[in-house]
């Protein structure tokens, strides 16, 4: 059941290029047009247009009731979304930086994630929490974290990390449809990247790994901004005579691991790339799944993780760059891995 996107090239009929943030905005707008229950709440999403400009003109289109500016009260507004969802609405909360989910963790983890289960299925919490994650903007340690592994570790949450404008739109529409709480993590460096996006509100289902390219020698699994870095690295590696696959699980929960295991079985080599610190990070889960499966016996080399340093994100640009994998690092890691077998 894998959706294979082997050649995400030029726009086809019914598509046009949008930026990632336009794609997110379009998804919200289409969902709000189609369903009165959908509304948005968050800090400065109104006339300001959002800290990263994502909500943009939605305030002017839908008004301040449904594009609702809030005080700086992350716990309160996530809780308000939980309550509104329980009462039949479909809230979308924007948290300005995913670091501030720390403020709201009780409502995310102890409430939203568990209510359906704790109540024996008697109620559900259909809400989406959108938040930008990642480094690269010089905003330092409290504004640059990648905490996706935490959310993935919480039963009851779905966790989405779109890497392209098309995925941002299609996955967000699926997240809004979903009757469960969905954590939707947008990478801030992707907001200005662009790519073909369908005009129609087409859903990309949650739980389908994307295969961005197939290669003979090595499988790169990457998420978020690392997907495009992996694709850039793949181009360089081709020149070096190394032919790599690039796969993006897109949703960490549910995790569609079959295409990953298949591809690694075929290439015999896995390089798992994430921006987050390595220790207890999400790629450890992927490594573990490889090791638990018969793919283990097909490995030609150890599974390698390439992660951010086990350090906070620093402010200085040269320090920040050195803290998370860059294209060169992916190339180097792939070449090293090729030599290990």
């Amino acid at each position: 059941m894998t959706s294979t996107t082997l050649d995400p090239g030029a726009p086809t009929a019914g598509e046009r290029d949008l930026t990632y943030s336009e794609a997110v905005r379009e998804a919200i707008g289409q969902a709000m047009e189609a369903d009165d229950r959908v509304f948005m709440l968050g800090e400065d999403i109104g006339v300001y247009g959002g800290a990263f400009g994502v909500s943009g003109d939605l305030f002017h289109r839908f008004g301040g009731e449904r594009i609702r500016d809030t005080p700086i009260s992350e716990l309160g507004i996530v809780g308000a979304a939980v309550g509104a969802a329980l009462a039949g609405m479909r809230p979308i909360v924007e948290i300005q930086f995913s670091d501030f989910t720390n403020q709201a963790m009780d409502q995310i983890v102890n409430q939203a994630a568990k209510i359906h289960y704790m109540l024996g299925g008697a109620a559900s919490v259909p809400m989406v929490l959108r938040a930008p994650l990642g480094s690269g903007t010089g905003a330092a340690a409290q504004h640059s974290q990648s905490l996706e592994a935490w959310f993935a570790h919480v039963p009851g949450l779905k966790v989405v990390m779109p890497a392209t404008p098309a995925d941002a739109k299609g996955l967000l529409l699926s997240a809004i449809d979903d009757p469960n709480p969905v954590i939707f993590l947008e990478h801030k460096l992707l907001y200005r990247t662009s790519g073909p996006v369908p005009v129609e509100p087409l859903r990309v289902p949650l739980g389908r790994t994307a295969v961005h390219r197939r290669g003979a020698d090595l499988t790169v699994v990457a998420t978020g901004v690392m997907v495009s870095r992996a694709l850039d690295a793949a181009a360089v590696l081709t020149d070096e005579g190394v032919d790599v696959s690039v796969l993006d699980p897109r949703t960490l929960t549910p995790l569609d691991d079959a295409p990953i295991l298949e591809d690694v079985s075929r290439t015999g080599r896995a390089l798992l790339v994430q921006e987050a610190p390595g220790h207890a990070g999400f790629t450890a889960e992927i490594a573990a799944r490889i090791t638990e499966s018969p793919t283990l016996y097909r490995l030609l080399a150890p599974v390698r993780r390439l992660s951010g340093l086990d350090a906070p994100i620093p402010y200085a640009p040269q320090l920040e760059r050195a803290s998370v994998p860059q294209v060169d690092d992916i190339v180097d890691a792939a070449l090293t891995l090729m030599k290990e077998s």
Binding site: L75, A80, G83, Q111, G120, D178
Partner: protein, 325 residues
Amino acid sequence: MTSAPLADAGRARHALLTMWTIRRFEEAVDDLFARGLMHGTMHLSIGQEASATGACMALRSDDAITSTHRGHGHCIGKGADLTRMMAELLAKETGYCRGRGGSMHIADVATGNLGANGIVAGGIPIATGAALAYQLRGEDRVVACFFGDGAANEGAFHEAVNLAAIWKLPVVFICENNKYGMSFSTEKSMAVAHVADRASAYGIPGVTVDGNDVEAVHAAVADAVSRARSGAGPTLVENVTYRWKGHSKSDKNLYRTKEEIAEWRALDPIVRFEAVVQERGLLDEAAVQAVRDEAMQAMREAVRAANAAPDADPSDLLDAVFAPA
């Protein structure tokens, strides 16, 4: 209807029956627990029955509540089925949560109970959000949000009450001030005399009520509910009351005196309301006795039925994590 006083015999009887039912339910739980027939931990509301009863009687059936770890009374007040409640506590498949939630997570969406909460102050933002939903849809429903004095020191209280205040949401914040958050007294946990004194920080009305007087509670909450329903926004109602039992099953009562407990037992809200209804001639001694018997009978029946139900089934735990699309 909503703000009708408890001065007619029907409503007085209903109030008394609700209080007795809560009392009997809690006593049954206490007993089952003591006999090792119940599991986990339990937070009993004996002594606080007037608060849950008076407040819930000020609500319409399509209004909602959010409740707390000490939530059996709210649940009963809002009209929950005793057998399903007891079945939940006895870890039965027929319980409100199919044995997954237990005492701290009973909810009954059908009767408007959006849920107890194991997290102190956890329900306050949720109540605010439900009220926002009603306001967005233009419905004239109200949410009553129960919480304790201890909860008023959590950030969640502050953020949620502020949201409700600025958006004039149809919610009534009902603080059951039983003088302690676990062992920590309100004298120590706050530098103000009343939780209601905090209302001024949000520009909303705050009122402190004798929480052992079911009529006073009802009147204050009814006013706040009309205010909320009319679009004028939230009110903070503080019901001053007392829990007779320890905080939970592991409490040794080291932080309060026997005398204090005795004083408050003397202020039993049920005994008091029985006297009131008889003085006023609303119910005679026989009618009061009939209420007591009815509560006792209902409880016995609930325990019997719950005991007879099948145990919660561990076979499909993973299925229940996510709601199906």
